[in-house]
């Protein structure tokens, strides 16, 4: 296998994958009442197509796409619409949702299945992926059809399937690659067909040998990556797999690469091959505060509380509940939020696991500088930001920060480095906007 590929910088958080990595995915029946968000993807929320009291069938489009960077939303169950209301969501403060009372989970394949997808044109395939509401399943939830439609002047020659799953605790991608290898491989071929590229790699961290072997056995070219956070971040993954560097402020397509999560590939396979819209996903429920951590195949709209209950309930004193992993996941104030297409995991942390919320002064040790996977000096940017020195924060490269949290993780003074840098980013962007206006 040779030297494991990676990027420079990064850190080694306690993986804690052992909690859930060997638990096979359990299919969770839809709860009695589900809440489907109309803004599960990045971009404009979809426009509701149903009203209170309407009957809906599984797979029915209940929210219409609203602009290019947007997606349609489908009902994951058959049932009755109870309400259209704004509610707390895991990835934003609140947003429009549709509450549905479940009566059946039958059917759902609302599109014509295309088992012979290669006879379809790339445009047809991309259109299907859009119509099925497929977005990035790794967490950012960017509409997939947009990523598959690079402008004409960007020549894409490489597709990288992202199976790094570098977030601690999370094992949903690992289980997917092992248990639904055929879906991932079909999806990979469908995405390659849509992009018209021949160079396709699957990047998997070395701590998932089972997953790597499964993909390799099914014919994928697997690149084994060093176990290091944030190995699954796009720019770091591209650097590790191809050696190419995405220019500052640029996109992967600027170096001819498109990165897709393995979950996205599986969703694309279901959409194109089976004619099934994107309505379910695998969610890891884990953390020291969960009785029986595991992986669940749940429909979107299932509440976090339902999933926690399926995992045996809370154990011990849970101080923080996260949507996603502990490095970039979003803290929730309540478990009454619904699973969305981007919910890779639900992590309940006890006070022993969770980072304390008090910070000390910067002792200028430089550990954040060594750890930053983007090559920034987080301590210097945050120092500037603390004194509202937006200009020097900008000069120090604040806008290149992707908020991966590695600096804050390694900081011996527990400084809120990401927080300060994000604050600087907002101020810098605001001042750039006002200068343009």
């Amino acid at each position: 296998m040779g030297k494991r590929r990676t990027f420079s910088g990064g850190a080694h958080p306690d993986e804690r994958k052992e909690l859930a990595e060997h638990s096979a995915v359990r299919k969770l029946p839809a709860p009695k009442v589900i809440r489907v968000a109309l803004c599960q993807h990045l971009g404009a929320p979809s426009t509701p197509l149903v009203a209170k009291g309407d009957r809906v069938t599984r797979g029915q489009e209940i929210g219409a796409q609203n602009g290019f960077i947007s997606l349609p939303t489908h009902s994951p169950v058959g049932g009755t619409v109870l309400a259209l209301e704004d509610a707390a969501l895991p990835h934003r403060r609140s947003g429009p949702t549709i509450v549905i009372e479940t009566s059946s989970e039958e059917g759902g394949a609302v599109f014509e299945p295309w088992p012979e997808y290669s006879s379809r044109s790339p445009q047809e395939v991309i259109e299907r992926i859009r119509a099925a509401g497929v977005c990035g399943m790794g967490g950012a939830s960017f509409p997939t059809h947009v990523k598959l439609s690079p402008p004409r002047d960007k020549k894409v020659d490489t597709l990288i399937l992202n199976g790094a799953e570098c977030e601690p605790y999370l094992t949903s991608d690992a289980r997917l690659m092992v248990e639904r290898t055929a879906d991932v491989i079909d999806g990979m071929r469908i995405l390659a067909h849509a992009l018209g590229v021949g160079r396709v790699f699957a990047g998997v961290e070395a701590n998932k040998p089972e997953a790597a072997a499964a993909l390799e056995g099914a014919g994928a070219e697997v690149i084994t990556l060093k176990v290091k956070y944030p190995q699954g971040a796009e720019k770091q993954l591209i650097k590790a797999v191809t050696g190419r560097e995405v220019p500052v402020g640029g996109l992967p397509m600027d170096v001819g690469v498109v990165v897709q999560n393995v979950g996205t590939a599986a969703a694309a396979a279901e959409a194109v091959r089976d004619g099934m819209p994107c309505m379910r996903r695998i969610v890891t429920v884990s953390g020291g505060g969960i009785k029986a951590p595991g992986n669940f195949d749940a429909c979107v709209g299932t509440s976090f509380a339902d999933l926690v209950e399926a995992a045996g309930g809370y154990s011990g004193e849970v101080v923080r509940l996260l949507s996603g992993g502990p490095m970039m996941g979003i803290a929730q104030f309540t478990d009454a939020v619904p699973v969305t297409k981007g919910t890779s995991g639900i992590v309940a942390l006890t006070s022993r696991e969770a980072r304390s919320l008090s910070e000390g002064p910067c002792i200028r040790c430089g550990k954040c500088v060594d750890a930053c996977p983007m090559g920034l000096a987080p301590c210097l940017i945050s120092e500037a930001a603390e004194h509202s020195g937006w200009k020097s924060a900008d000069e120090a490269g604040a806008l290149s920060c992707m908020a991966c949290g590695t600096c804050t993780f390694v900081c011996p003074s527990s400084r809120f480095l990401v927080h300060y840098i994000k604050r600087a980013q907002e101020a810098i962007r605001a001042s750039k906007r006002s200068r343009e206006a």
Partner: protein, 358 residues
């Protein structure tokens, strides 16, 4: 239904590495203890341990009172950083100094060099070294004379020469009495102004294997904590194992001391002794415990390397041509002032950045 559960909100990341400031400081304290044991072995309890204790207690007390006066959380006085400052200041004093000297030095280090600038993390200059510089300027005689010849407790009658030259080799030097009581670096410095034949004889002895061994073990005159390279290295290895010490600063500093010690540290160009340059004086203490002070040195990789390199150069320049036989502490103090500039001009390359924007 029960009350809905509420959870804490906070920014990601939600986990942290086990390393914290307090652990860093306490690891440094632990790493400095072998050298303290050595000081007791070579100079006795009263002349070494007493000033060290006085210095540490003064540092912590001064920190406590400053924090009180400024209405800041006083438990920061126990974060370990004041202990490190107190230890390092005392390690830079000659053995047997009167008790009030470390009180003044340590108090100055904490109150003026550290707290007046805003406390931990905000001081520009290494507090222990600024305290030492203050004492050098105020009490030059106490600080630069009365060097004690070390002895070993196993054989108290066996005294060593302060110069580190093995006693049995002294007869090779004409008029050897004249150099007794001087530290190795003072002897080296004086050798440059001696009559040529005698200077060569002195330098030949300083560059002998017996002298190297004495210097490395600590059988020589010098400040309380600087004499034994071996024991300081033990501490440094401990810090590396604990993941606290990163080696860019110490290696570039000691490497630079050896390099320039060889190039310009001798009577003529390329006639210096690199090994002696590293073993004599305080550069091992300085290289592993003071050049590495995180607060006052650069955060960038190349900044660290440049800092060490330039400090090594200044050390040798002071040793060869300056007013003092040792230049370690002043070289670090001078470079401390250059730290913000070094940080600025050695910013690492951002991933995907093509060339540097001016």
């Amino acid at each position: 239904m029960a009350e809905p559960r509420l959870f804490q909100l906070s920014m990601s990341p939600h986990v942290t590495s086990p390393l914290n400031t307090r652990r860093v400081m306490l690891d440094v304290v632990t790493a400095l203890l072998p050298a303290l044991a050595g000081a007791i072995w070579f100079f006795g309890f009263v002349d070494s341990l007493l000033p060290v204790l006085v210095s540490v207690v003064t540092a912590v007390a001064a920190e406590y009172f400053c924090l009180r006066i400024m209405k800041r959380p006083v438990n920061a006085a126990l974060d370990g950083s004041a202990i490190v400052t107190g230890l390092l200041l005392a390690y830079n004093l000659p053995p047997g100094v009167p008790w009030w000297l470390p009180v003044i030095g340590s108090g100055f280090a904490i109150v003026v060099a550290k707290q007046a600038f805003g406390g931990l993390g905000h001081n520009m200059i290494n507090p222990a070294l600024l305290g030492r510089a203050f004492l050098m300027a105020s009490f030059p005689v106490l600080m630069t004379s009365g060097w004690q010849a070390p002895f070993e407790w196993s054989a108290p009658e066996s005294h060593f020469e302060t110069s580190g030259i093995p006693v049995e080799n002294l007869q090779a030097i004409p008029d050897a009495d004249a150099i007794s009581g001087a530290t190795p670096l003072r002897v080296m410095k004086d050798s440059f102004t001696m009559e040529r034949h005698r200077g060569n004889a002195v330098r030949a002895q300083l560059a002998s294997e017996g002298t190297y061994l004495n210097l490395f073990l600590g059988r020589r005159g010098g400040c309380i904590g600087e004499t034994s390279g071996l024991l300081l290295l033990l501490g440094a290895i401990y810090l590396v194992v604990r993941g606290v010490l990163e080696l860019r600063l110490p290696l570039s500093y000691l490497g630079s001391v050896a390099l320039f010690g060889w190039i310009i540290g001798g009577p003529g160009l390329l006639q210096g002794d690199p090994l002696f340059s590293v073993l004599a004086g305080g550069v091992i203490l300085g290289g592993f415990f003071m050049v590495t002070d995180m607060v006052t040195t650069p955060v960038t990789p190349w900044g660290k390397i440049l800092f060490g390199f330039l400090a090594g150069f200044i050390t040798i320049v002071i040793r060869r041509w300056g007013g003092y036989p040792e230049g370690c502490s002043y070289s670090i103090l001078i470079m401390n002032l250059a730290t913000p500039l070094l940080d600025r001009f050695t910013r690492p390359r951002i991933l995907g950045e093509v060339g540097k924007h001016a």
